[in-house]
Amino acid sequence: MDFISILSIFVLACFVGYYVVWSVTPALHTPLMAVTNAISSVIVVGALVAAAAGGSGISRILGLVAVALASVNIFGGFAVTERMLAMYKKKDK
């Protein structure tokens, strides 16, 4: 992909993010932070590329460490979000 295509996706995604996040209810701002934290660990994709690549040994080790760090976030982030969201209950009538 050329730079302009990527930039287009990025700019449009910023606008999507802007409108979607404003629609999040303030009561769920803490789960919002937990889940954004989990999804930003999609950086694991880059870590996997490094960990799976042949060649530079140090690069592979850095990749593996990054995979482990991102995994803490992915599993921990989604699990803690799920745990929080399960606590929000409506009044039982």
């Binding site: 660990s41 921990g76 969201l85």
Partner: protein, 487 residues
């Protein structure tokens, strides 16, 4: 794998795009508690998709073969990756299960630091092995454009990491929450930031190791320097800001890797953190710049103690409070960070239940900056089984104080200070506050009369005719009120 610019197959790009869309739906679900869990599942699905796709294309496969017989080397690599995921995943799940809800802000800060560090490591891995990332130019050097993306990604990641570590230490009480002010800190910070940007520009001309190493080191330093002067109660802004940075770091890496899932996610998370920072600043009527500049409350706090005049105030007991609460028709409870510190949310909900049983209409009012992160109080009340439709935001409930018989303030202070409306000289002037002075009576749980809120200013609410000060630990006081209510 070593061919630069090779586009991944169409299905791969499509899969990353779908993962990105899943992440958008995950945030969209949070517009209401009813749809939020479905949203989280979308997030998990998107992440699963991104992971599986990457594993399929990056697992060391000889070119041309679709299902080749793996070599021992391939198997070892795969095993290493699975072990790394296994260790990280297990640690993450255990933490997620054990963490106390009151400790959520420091957990989020800790998680941000991991994203930041991972971004730094990925950036360095790409620098050391550019061929694997497809960013090697025809001349055998890393492409200049990729160097900018990589340099910025590493810088933002490093700032996120060291900043989040400091935020974590302050939030967890392992480091004083008081601002630490270095002389000439603005000059140092701006100089360091300028140096980082210049070095990133220089990096396009010279890809020497020392350049990228200096960028990394300076970025770690600036993250640290930026957060140490910021005080404890400004942490909601800091945590939101670091949230935003972790997104921009992911986006920068997405540019390097030409990966749509990372770019979409980075943009979403970056905007999310930025919007939350904005909401927090607005709720304190302070500019983002002044929060980041730090040192809030230091000057006012130092002088405030001596200058305060002695004014009469009324002290009440748990029994007095219980008596008035029982007679009330409408009670509005305003929780603040003090409630979280005292872990009083469960006894508070019991009090709410007892009052409801006595026919009292109970509502909870939450200020946007209550607690140490956005939405912190809402999670604590949800944890204590308070239904979310009894919990209201500032602008939705502020008109109701005139009809309220009791405004019950527990662990909050600055957010009910009328000086924000009337006293132009006050450091919190212009901050939106609860109009508790309109309620028929006010109950204010506080440890002692000596302490002041974060802003270091006195609060006229203490001295109003209708105010009853309940001086004790928040949890102990509410327990005593419950005993008196249950009698």
């Amino acid at each position: 794998m070593t061919v630069a610019h090779a586009l991944p197959p169409a299905w791969v790009m499509l899969a990353y795009l779908i993962a990105g869309v899943c992440f958008i739906l995950a945030l969209r679900g949070l517009s209401s508690p009813a749809t939020s869990r479905k949203g989280n599942r979308y997030g998990i699905a998107g992440m699963g998709m991104a992971l599986a796709t990457t594993m399929l294309i990056e697992a060391p496969v000889p070119p041309g073969a679709f299902f080749p017989a793996p070599t021992p080397d391939d198997l070892r690599t795969l095993a290493e990756i699975l072990v790394a995921v296994g260790i990280g995943g297990a640690v993450g799940l255990v933490i997620a299960r054990r963490i106390q809800m009151t400790d959520m802000p420091q957990l989020v800060a800790a998680f941000h630091s991991l994203v930041g560090l991972a971004a730094v490591l990925v950036g360095w891995a790409a620098y050391l092995n550019p061929a694997a990332f497809g960013i090697l130019g025809a001349d055998g050097a890393i492409e200049p454009q990729s160097r900018i993306e990589m340099g910025l990604g590493i810088a933002i990641g490093a700032i996120t990491f060291s900043g989040s570590v400091i935020a974590f230490l302050k939030l967890a009480g392992k480091m004083s929450g008081a601002p630490i002010l270095l002389p000439a800190r603005h000059v140092i910070n701006l100089g360091t930031l300028a140096a980082i940007l210049l070095l990133v520009a220089f990096f396009t001309q010279n890809e020497a190791l020392w350049v990228i190493a200096t960028i990394t080191a300076l970025s770690f330093a600036i993250g640290f320097l930026l957060i140490i002067p910021i005080g404890g109660a400004d942490m909601p802004v800091v945590v939101s800001m670091l949230n935003s940075y972790s997104g921009w770091a992911a986006a920068a890496m997405g540019f390097t890797l030409h990966n749509t899932a990372m770019i979409i996610t980075g943009a979403l998370v970056g905007s999310s953190g930025a919007i939350l920072s904005y909401i927090m600043c607005k709720a304190m009527n302070r500019s983002f710049i002044s929060v980041i500049a730090g040192g809030f409350g230091v000057e006012a706090g130092a002088g405030g103690g001596a200058a305060r005049e002695q004014r009469p105030w009324k002290r009440g007991s748990a029994e007095d409070a219980a008596f008035i609460l029982e007679q009330a028709e409408n009670v509005i409870i305003i929780p603040g960070y003090g409630m979280a510190v005292a872990q009083a949310q469960h006894v508070l909900r019991e009090m709410g239940d007892l009052l409801k049983k006595a026919g009292v209409n109970v509502k909870y009012a939450i200020h946007p900056v209550a607690g140490r992160m956005p939405g912190h109080m809402n999670v604590l009340l949800a944890e204590a089984n308070v239904p979310y439709d009894e919990v209201f935001e500032l602008e939705d409930i502020n008109g109701e104080f005139a009809q309220a018989d009791v405004a019950f303030i527990i662990g909050a202070n600055d957010v009910v200070n009328p000086a924000a409306k009337t006293d132009k000289a006050s450091p919190i002037y212009g901050m939106p506050v609860f109009d508790v002075d309109r309620a028929k009576s006010v109950m204010f749980i506080k440890r002692s009369m000596g302490g002041v809120g974060y802003a270091g200013v006195d609060n006229d609410v203490f001295y109003m005719d209708q105010t009853m000060m309940l001086l004790a630990d928040a949890k102990k006081m509410v327990e005593d009120i419950n005993k008196a209510l249950a009698h």
